[in-house]
Amino acid sequence: MSQSEAQKQTLREWLLTDTPQSRHQARMVALYQGWLSFSTNTMAMFGLGILICLGLVALFAPLISPHDPFAQELGNRLQPLWSEGHVFGTDSLGRDILSRLIYGSRITLYIVALVALIAPVAGLLVGTVAGYSGGWLDVILMRITDIFLAFPRLVLALAFVAALGAGIENAVLAISLTAWPPYARIARAETLTIRNSDYISAVKLQGAGATRIVTKHIWPLCISSLIVRVTLDMAGIILAAAGLGFLGLGAQPPSPEWGAMISEGRRFILDHWWVATIPGLAIFTVSLAFNLLGDGLRDVLDPKDGGS
């Protein structure tokens, strides 16, 4: 293809071609086709939109929050919704709830990102190693997984936080420690179906070792179902973090963590309902957004659909 012809080709045509000319283009085509099928899912796009907004809010928190989230104004406490200068009112110490929500989004994203980095990776590692190696290693790793699975998540997290001390980092660690077993189970189940397939046999016949087979051939097929599971679990993770905050074992005052805000508002819930309700609604919205996104991702990523 000559240079001028290449320039005439639009970006869209370049992305939709059936005959990619380079590795880079092939990858871009696969990504773009995934995006096209994802973007037809209205609810998933809605979820993605909310999460992008959340990300932007967290990023520009100092610019968009009307007040300092920590500034107390006791003469102005428990103001109702739409009061002067405080759209969502103020809490028991006269702090602006909207500003606290905006700063709280940073904490929520921080927890979600850390847990999403730790738990699925640990689960993937344990599950694929157990599933591929089989034998006694499989038995040992899976029984450990079973032990973790047998505890209720919040109770185990509580025990960890109690042992490690209260705080947001320990809450993240505790939630991660309780969140990885389901990922290990999924990864192992996927590995068991993949390990005896012909394409794994074929790469074995090229002399590939176990490490290469697990990391380059099994992981790419497990990751899509894990991503879906992570996005569906995000709601649970946010709720667990909020639950720990609510019980006073997660983020500590005066940190504007949403669960801790509900906990503080609980004392006034009958007379000043918005103090607890507004952060509750924020948790609800973000959890819903993650669930919708997860649902849409499942449609795009599920390899059994025969898609990309």
Binding site: P20, R23, Y199, A202, L205, Q206, S308
Partner: protein, 258 residues
């Protein structure tokens, strides 16, 4: 002896009470350069022999020699450089998330080749696929094109032996002929030795010079392709198989009824 030689090969699955003997005392020789066929009904142990040779079925005893070397239960890279396998179902033998380019470049990398870019183009050309197929994913290919990619992958290490596990049974009839012709051409070009498994007597009769007939894990007869085409079986099961391959005939039906 520099071909493939199998002596008293036993292959089993499971152990104790659950043990199933898939192959019992199979013995045959494939001289270098020959094309040898294994036929038999489903479950007769044809594919299992190939899987024992490649160590994909690790529970075997007996003696296997390939290119003058006696095989034990380990296979090194050098072995995989002399012997490769093409699998039955091209829809299952290609990784769904790897492009043709990834499949071939990984194979070439694992065998320590240099000049990978150029070799990929040559390989694709060898199996009748143009360079435009290079960056496609399996779901963008037809069954026949996938099988060509699988053949290219098997040819990448430049082996002298190719095990073919029913390479055309998952393809429709028109594509079957294309793949069989491709395999015939490649054999002539590269001087390959084929050990081919099939349940289709016509395919084996076309491709192979000698044929072993298997029944319930045992080789009941080794015959030449001429004998087979002339319908000169010496074992009753072979006769049965040959008659079944012709399809319905009034005489055969009358025999069964009578």
């Amino acid at each position: 002896m520099n071909g493939i030689s199998v002596k008293n090969l036993k292959v089993w699955f499971g152990s104790g009470k659950d043990r199933i003997d898939a192959v019992k005392d199979a013995t045959f020789d494939v001289p270098k350069g020959e094309s040898f066929g294994l036929v038999g009904e489903s479950g007769s142990g044809k594919s299992t022999i190939l899987r024992a040779i490649t160590e994909l079925a690790p529970n075997w005893s007996g003696a296997i020699h390939v290119a003058g070397k006696t095989l034990d239960h380990t296979r090194d890279n050098e072995f995989y450089k002399t012997l490769q396998m093409v699998f039955q179902d091209p829809y299952a033998s290609l990784h769904p998330r790897h492009s043709v380019d990834q499949v071939l470049s990984e194979t070439l990398y694992l065998h320590g080749f240099d000049n990978i870019e150029k070799r990929i183009v040559t390989l694709l050309d060898d199996v009748g696929l143009g360079p435009s197929f290079r960056f496609r994913y399996p779901h963008q290919l037809s069954g026949g094109q996938r099988q060509r990619v699988a053949i290219a992958r098997a040819l990448a290490p430049e082996p002298s032996f190719l095990l073919l596990d029913e390479p055309t049974s998952a393809l429709d009839v028109s594509v079957q002929a294309e793949i069989l012709n491709l395999l015939t051409d490649l054999r002539a070009e590269h001087g390959l030795t084929y050990l081919m498994v099939s349940h289709d007597l016509a395919v084996v009769g076309h491709m192979c010079s000698r044929i072993a007939v298997m029944q319930l894990g045992e080789i009941v007869e080794v015959m030449t392709a001429e004998d087979m085409r002339a319908m000169r079986p010496s074992h009753p099961y072979t006769k049965h198989l040959l008659e079944a391959s012709i399809g319905y005939s009034r005489e055969a039906a009358a025999d069964i009824v009578a």
